[in-house]
Symmetry: C2
Subunit: 153 residues, 2 copies
DNA sequence: CGATATTAGTTGATAAAGTCATCTTATTTT
DNA sequence: AAAATAAGATGACTTTATCAACTAATATCG
């Protein structure tokens, strides 16, 4: 088998996953788009989190993140705190409501993941994670820095 | 390891892949969005292809597909031929230009796939494909039809 | 046969998501 | 202090997706 059909595989998986997440989230009565949810999760996870951190970690446009962040603030899920060392910057912190929502989201994600991975063994899941992670890393590398046989190993 | 981080893994991979595909396609001077490209590919692949086939195969809204199809027609990449057995329906067929573009796209996809999978062994790629495929299938199942132990096997 | 339901596809309105350029304000650099 | 840089915000725009309503052709069923 050539690696050609990877494209289709990825696309289908992507959409299947998105669709399922969104469905499940909606079923739970949570009215937030997926990107917002990921940003909230990032903010909960990252210590001393700024919009910049989120943008670069999610590899997204700053404008997009700025908008998402301001909506999360409007929804009372996070707060902006002026950065003590740099007044241009703001620390993003979850509110109590944000933390609570995150717990519910974790449960949804757990459920979706359970469902998607239900036909898989624990080993397979782990393998999948690892392989996917390596592909992502690879994609992030500077393309001008073509790995040659020496480095590609 | 719990299966929890699957969500992040998938998101990152999705975006990395999309980004890389788009970059590479643009570098090649091809000015088509990814969805159009996938539709074109589908039309080239499927015998007796209709918009309906594409929509259900890609699990997309018919409206979206209709629009993409009509743009592909406008670009001279495919033709609509009235279905001989059903005048509601139209067969979608690639033009010569469409076939040529597909060849170039195959090359791009090949290159992107090469790059993404370059740190992987052939075995790993195959495993990844299989696992991803199974997850997609699983996601497509009717959620009300909860597979029990008997069926899930 | 003829009323009704179904299916393929189209179109308009709208939402959602992402991108680009530009602006303000604050901090570094020199 | 002037210039360069960085964080973030905002307006305008593009792309992509979704919904609902519509036309036209076919299928179904009395």
């Amino acid at each position: 088998m050539s690696p050609r059909p990877l494209s289709d595989t990825l696309h289908k998986l992507m959409h299947a996953y998105r669709r399922l997440m969104l469905e499940t989230i909606r079923e739970q009565g949570i009215d937030l788009p997926i990107t917002h949810i990921r940003v909230l999760k990032g903010i909960c996870r990252i210590e001393e989190c700024t919009a910049h951190h989120i943008a670069s970690q999610m590899r997204r446009d700053r404008a997009q993140i700025a908008r998402v962040v301001s909506e999360l603030v409007k929804n009372g899920l996070i707060m902006k705190v002026t950065h003590p060392q740099d007044r241009r910057s703001q620390l993003l912190e979850p509110t109590e409501a944000g933390l609570q929502l995150r717990e519910r989201l974790d449960q949804v994600e757990e459920a979706v993941t359970q469902r998607l991975t239900s036909p898989l063994t624990a080993d397979e899941i782990e393998i999948f994670e690892k392989i996917a992670g390596r592909m992502t890393e690879q994609a992030a590398l500077d393309p001008t820095h073509r790995p040659t046989e020496k480095e590609a190993g």
